[in-house]
């Protein structure tokens, strides 16, 4: 996950992911949305590839990139571990009480 989090920590790379979420795109397609150079984009794409967030295939003399969103799964799972901490505490208390009540009735044997 380290590589994934490092990859998405950069705003330009997140922008690339956003663009690819619309559908696969060639490098020059992508490039048209940025102000930096083509080699800079190629570097970003390499990182994203190595992180498993995009894949590419040659098409004629161009190369088409597409999103490999499953690579973000690890991030989603990591952050999900913390969800309990920010969900409204009263809400959470309610769930806890519900569970206790359930156990209570369950124990009523």
């Amino acid at each position: 996950m380290d590589a994934v989090l490092k990859a998405v920590a950069d705003p330009s790379r997140r922008a690339v992911l956003d663009l690819l979420a619309e559908g696969e795109k060639s490098v020059s397609d992508l490039l048209s949305h940025f102000t930096f150079s083509q080699p800079a984009l190629s570097k970003h794409l390499r990182l994203l590839r190595e992180a498993g967030l995009v894949v590419s295939r040659p098409v004629g003399r161009t190369r088409v990139y597409s999103l490999e969103a499953a690579g973000l799964r690890s991030v989603a799972e990591w952050v999900a571990h913390y969800e309990q901490f920010w969900t409204d505490r009263l809400d959470h208390l309610g769930q806890v009480l519900d569970r206790m009540a359930e156990e209570e009735s369950g124990h009523a044997d």
Copy 2:
């Protein structure tokens, strides 16, 4: 969100968050789990503070840090936008079909 993603891109800082998820801890408490120096930890804590992922309060001559997990909400929301792309396509197809079936029966007026 940029600051947050940059903060969590570092494994040591993620480890700090994990520790604080167990409950609030003093700096020296935290430090005992790492091999790097106290100033290094203080730097990490500063970054986490600035990203809004932890808060601290003085306790005697120590300082106690606690998790501010709500800061991770933005990350959760960001990654959620991509969930549709990695949920199993057959699964998804199944849901679509279910929904169509439901609409079908709903229309049976």
